[in-house]
Each structure stands twice: as structure tokens, then as C-alpha cells.
């Protein structure tokens, strides 16, 4: 152990190689992507709705990351194509989530484009799905004797409607619905998008 030069060169080389493979290469690969052509920034209303989505912890039951067909039948469920990193360009904080107690929501605006459906569902999920375990959000709504000018009335089956008056959506409920309807990443994925390729070998594109 008296020849230090090769030892130092080799150890520095190993360090440089590790830095290249573990830091520089992933950095280049995951460089901030351009927003895809089909993706619009959130409007003020949608962004307010997004803040409500974050603050109410929707993330704890709903993911926003459809998987590749090799991993889960998300495409058949109508949850959309596997997402790519560019799909989250305007999302901060991202709401990827891991729990799927409820369905994935990244494309809910495409598969359920009905504002009134969402309002009914937020007011009382069991008005539609009697087996649903999603909490109801009645505090986002107001019961009024009569709808006023500009009020959005929630459509409800008779057994869930209040005995008197009508259920009217608050601004927060409308914002949240606007955000849900804006969740639509059905445009074609960018060619260079980094995506979850499942177990498919690289190069075996469709």
C-alpha cells in the first residue's frame, strides 16, 4: 500500500461514475418537461377548487395516476391512459396519491363531464351509489327556501332532497366541481413523456 496514485484515481473514478449514473443522468431524464399542447393552466376558479381538494384530503382516497395496462385495467375503467410527468406540469403540490379507496381522478372530467352529477355526488354520494363509502359534503351546500337569481340548484332524488326548500351549491362546491371537470388528460401523451411502462420491455411500443 505505498502506491497512492492508482488508488485515488480509481476511487475518484468510481465516485464520478456514480454521480453520473445516479445524479446527472436522472437529472437530464427528468428535466422539467414542456407543458403538453392539450394541457391548459388552471383557471382561478379551478385553482380555488384545487385548493379545496388539497385541504379536504381527497388525496387520501383518490389517486391521480392511471397505471399502464400491464399493471391494472385502468384504461378499461375509463380512467385514462398511463400518465406522463408532463401531465402534472401545473400541479403544485401534486396530488398523485397512492390509496385507491375511491377511483383514480386524473381523467374524471373526461369520463364524468356532468357538473350536476358531481354536485349531487358531493352533496350525497349515496343518492347515486347506495354502497358508496365516500363521505358526504353537505357543508359545501346551502338549503334555501327558494333558489335565487344565479343559484345552482342540486338535482336530488326525492328521498335525499330536504323536506322543504332546495339545495344550492356554494361557491366552494362550484369551484371544486370546476376543478374536477378540468381533470382531463386524454390528449395524446407527448412522445418524449416519461411514463410508467409497466413490465413492457422498452421499444415494444404499440
Amino acid at each position: 500500500m505505498n502506491n497512492y496514485l492508482p488508488l485515488s484515481i480509481i476511487s475518484l473514478g468510481i465516485l464520478a461514475f456514480a454521480t453520473l449514473m445516479l445524479v446527472i443522468a436522472p437529472g437530464i431524464e427528468m428535466a422539467r418537461p414542456e407543458p403538453p399542447a392539450g394541457l391548459q393552466p388552471y383557471t382561478v376558479e379551478e385553482q380555488r377548487g384545487r385548493d379545496a381538494y388539497v385541504s379536504m384530503g381527497c388525496l387520501y382516497c383518490h389517486s391521480q395516476q392511471p397505471r399502464a395496462p400491464e399493471q391494472a385495467p385502468d384504461g378499461e375503467r375509463g380512467w385514462g391512459r398511463p400518465s406522463v410527468s408532463a401531465d402534472y406540469f401545473y400541479d403544485s403540490p401534486h396530488q398523485l396519491g397512492t390509496m385507491r379507496t375511491g377511483p383514480d381522478l386524473l381523467n374524471v372530467g373526461a369520463r364524468l363531464p356532468s357538473e350536476s352529477w358531481h354536485l349531487t355526488h358531493l352533496y350525497q354520494p349515496r343518492a347515486i351509489f347506495e354502497w358508496s363509502i365516500m363521505p358526504a359534503y353537505p357543508f359545501l351546500f346551502e338549503v334555501k327556501a327558494e333558489a335565487e337569481e344565479g343559484d345552482v340548484v342540486v338535482a336530488l332524488p326525492p328521498e335525499f332532497a330536504p323536506a322543504e326548500g332546495v339545495v344550492v351549491a356554494s361557491q366552494e362546491a362550484l369551484d371544486l366541481t370546476a376543478y374536477l371537470l378540468s381533470l382531463d388528460r386524454t390528449y395524446p401523451a407527448p412522445q418524449d413523456g416519461i411514463r410508467d411502462d409497466g413490465y413492457r420491455p422498452r421499444g415494444d411500443a404499440e
Binding site: 378499461e76 349531487t120 338535482a155
Partner: protein, 414 residues
């Protein structure tokens, strides 16, 4: 100092501690030479036989085509794949359903008219010689490239018409630009009127959508009522659907009425639909069915499940008898345009919807067919097969077609 414990070697015995060793000797050159020669010979043989195989394959294909009398013209393979399912390989059509190409006045007028019809489609009755046909020719504008349209039109007119003119792709491109927003021809009369060709006497077109929708039904479709959301809020203003919300435009009235009734009675399970149909009267169901059956909308479906389109095409056109699965088209009609009430159109339906319905038939969540056919077929298909066939069907042109600008107005250009 340690004494060597090894006993003195007795010169009368062989050395028991001898370790064998090998002298340094190179591989003899004849051996090297032979291996290299063998290698070269093997590679040459491989190369040689591969060429032979290719030659043999080409010859075999040529032999088969000679034997079956098939032409090797451009357009032939495309015709077999996309046209022959309806117009039949011999171009004679299906009596009473699909008009013949052979002897047709439309084909006699040359490749330009044929290309025009392929790009626009025909919606409504036409007369070919002495027979009336009241069907729908789909628009293939979204399916074929200019080159393919040119090849097909030239092929059809040279085989069944009197023209030997080969249409150029550039002419098709120009034609495509001209007819892009015109929508389908309105029956044979529409073809004669729009193109100015002599086509004998053609029946007049009576639009299926000319029937006005009553204000009550219109309110139901676009605004909803009481505890019910509007139809259009999920299925789109044109009934075009999206993802796993199905396309309704062009489905038969009776099929829609039956499904609405099944949702109401719990024979078909879909919670959102159950809420919506709960308070529909039978008359309203029928009016909605009539409305959606009469809609003409171009396809906004895309094959986006990552399925294998070739496998999907095989399942749709030929089935897979190793799985005892008949072809889709054997019941749902050529090109999947639907047959009567029991076999709804499949072409241009959204892939996630088709795949999820197949999965529902297989899993027993959907059981509302009186024929019990789909249960077996769907369970015999693997998940990959279901994706493949759903993707293939989504790539087909819708029957009847619509005009190209309709979806653009909705902000959903293809």
C-alpha cells in the same frame, strides 16, 4: 530447524507427490484452420438458405395468387381488408342490404366519384340498377390516407367499372380538402346533385333527424329535470360520448329503449343511469331513442388502451376458434355497423366502454341480453384480447357518419 518430515523417497516406488503439469504449447494450426473454415462455411450456408427461403416464400405467394386468381394490384389487399366485408370479395354486394360494385352506375363514373364516396360516405337510399338500398356507407376519410384512397378507387373502377385511369394521391388530397366539411351524401339523389354525374334515377333523401324534438324531450336532453341530470351533460351535446361514457349517436331506437328499460328495472346495473331513468315514462324513453338513433356524428373514439390492433382485427373479422370465439362481425354486421336490435353497432364506440362492457359480461355484472351470447364470448377472451378488440372497433368509421366540423364546434377535433 524443522526436519523434512517427508520420508525419504524410495527409488523403487513411483513418486506419490508428483503434481501433473502441462507444457506451454499452442493450438496446432490445422485445428485452427479447420475451425475457421467450418465457421465460414456455416455462416455462408445460413446466408444462402435464408435467401432461398425468401425466394421460396415469394414464389409460394405468387403461386397462391395464381391459383386463386387474385390480382396483385395495389389496392387489392386494402379492398379485401376494408371493403369486402360488406361489398363481398366479388363485388356483388349483399342482396337487399349492401349495393353491388359490379355493374353499378356509381363505379362506372370513374375513380373520382368512388374516392368522393369513400371520403364522404352515403347516408340514405340509393338506387343501383333496379334495386333500392337504404343503408349507410361509412366515411373512410379518417381511416385511409390519400394514397390508400387513390389505390382503392383505381382498383375498384378498373375491376368493376370501365375506367382504367389511375387516380393520383394529389387529386385525392385536393378532393379531401374540398369535401371535408360537407358530411355524408344525402342518398343517391345527393350524390347526383353534388357531383353532377349521371346516375340514373335516384330516390330522394328523407332525413331521419328532420323530425323535430318536442320541447319537453329537448329539455330532458339538455337541461335535465328535477332529480335527474341531463343526458347531454355526460354523453355530450351530440351523443358522442367519451371514455367509458358510451357514444349514443346512431344506436338503434329499440336498443336504446331496451337499455333504458333494463336500467330502470335493474336488469342492467349502472347507478348513475338508474337515477336518470327512474322517472322516465315509456313515451319519453322512446322519444330519446328516436332522437339518439337519428344523430349523425363523426367518431371521436381513439384506440387508446394500448391493445394489439392486429389481434383486434383478427378477432373482429375472423374470431378465434381455438377459443371458440366467433367473429364480432358475424353477428354485429360487416364493419360492426350493427344488425337489428339485438346486435348494436360497435364501430366507433369508445374503447374503454367496449372493454369495460366485455369485462362486465365476463364477470357477470352485465346479463341483460336475451341471447346469452356475450357471456361466453367475453369470458373466453383474455384481458389483452378485450383491449385489442375494443381498440380495433374504436378505430373503425362510424355508421352512419357525420360531418367533420360537428366535433370541432364542440372543441373535440380529432
Amino acid at each position: 530447524m524443522t526436519a523434512d518430515r517427508r520420508p525419504e523417497q524410495d527409488p523403487r516406488h513411483p513418486d506419490e507427490h508428483f503434481e501433473p503439469y502441462e507444457l506451454d504449447a499452442s493450438i496446432p494450426w490445422p485445428l485452427l484452420g479447420i475451425s475457421i473454415a467450418l465457421g465460414v462455411w456455416g455462416a455462408a450456408t445460413l446466408f444462402d438458405t435464408r435467401r432461398h427461403e425468401e425466394r421460396a416464400q415469394v414464389e409460394r405467394v405468387e403461386d397462391t395468387q395464381l391459383a386463386t386468381g387474385q390480382a396483385v394490384e395495389p389496392g387489392h389487399a386494402l379492398f379485401e381488408a376494408s371493403c369486402a366485408t360488406c361489398h363481398q370479395p366479388d363485388g356483388l354486394g349483399i342482396r337487399g342490404a349492401v349495393p353491388p360494385l359490379a355493374g353499378s352506375p356509381f363505379v362506372r363514373n370513374g375513380p373520382e366519384l368512388v374516392a368522393n364516396i369513400m371520403l364522404r360516405g352515403i347516408d340514405g337510399p340509393i338506387r343501383v340498377n333496379d334495386s333500392l338500398y337504404d343503408g349507410h356507407m361509412p366515411s373512410f376519410a379518417s381511416v385511409f390516407t390519400d394514397v390508400e384512397v387513390a389505390e382503392l378507387a383505381s382498383y375498384v373502377t378498373s375491376r368493376w367499372g370501365e375506367s382504367n385511369r389511375a387516380l393520383e394521391a394529389a387529386e385525392v388530397a385536393e378532393l379531401r380538402g374540398r369535401v371535408a366539411d360537407l358530411g355524408s351524401f344525402r342518398g343517391g339523389a345527393g350524390v347526383a346533385e353534388d357531383t353532377g354525374f349521371a346516375l340514373d334515377e335516384q330516390p330522394t333523401f328523407a332525413s331521419g333527424t328532420s323530425q323535430p324534438v318536442s320541447p319537453e324531450i329537448s329539455a330532458l336532453i339538455f337541461e335535465g329535470r328535477g332529480g335527474q341530470w341531463s343526458c347531454a351533460s355526460c354523453h355530450g351535446d351530440l351523443g358522442q360520448g367519451r371514455e367509458n361514457t358510451p357514444r349514443l349517436a346512431g344506436l338503434p331506437t329499440d336498443y336504446i329503449v331496451k337499455q333504458l328499460g333494463d336500467f330502470a328495472a335493474g336488469r342492467r346495473i349502472n347507478e348513475s343511469m338508474a337515477v336518470v331513468v327512474a322517472e322516465l315514462s315509456n313515451e319519453e324513453k322512446r322519444a330519446l331513442g328516436v332522437y339518439y338513433a337519428g344523430l349523425r356524428v363523426p367518431s371521436n373514439a381513439r384506440p387508446d388502451l394500448g391493445g394489439d390492433l392486429e389481434r383486434g382485427e383478427q378477432l373482429a373479422r375472423e374470431g378465434d376458434w381455438s377459443l371458440t370465439v366467433p367473429s364480432c362481425f358475424s353477428c354485429h354486421g360487416p364493419s360492426g355497423f350493427g344488425v337489428a336490435t339485438e346486435f348494436p353497432p360497435l364501430a366507433a364506440q369508445h374503447a374503454p366502454y367496449t372493454a369495460s362492457q366485455l369485462a362486465a359480461w365476463a364477470g357477470g355484472q352485465r346479463t341483460n341480453s336475451s341471447l346469452d351470447l356475450m357471456e361466453h364470448i367475453s369470458s373466453a377472451l383474455s384481458a389483452a384480447d378485450r383491449r385489442a378488440v375494443a381498440d380495433y372497433l374504436a378505430s373503425l368509421p362510424p355508421v352512419p357518419a357525420g360531418s367533420g366540423d360537428m366535433l370541432a364546434e364542440q372543441g373535440e377535433g380529432q
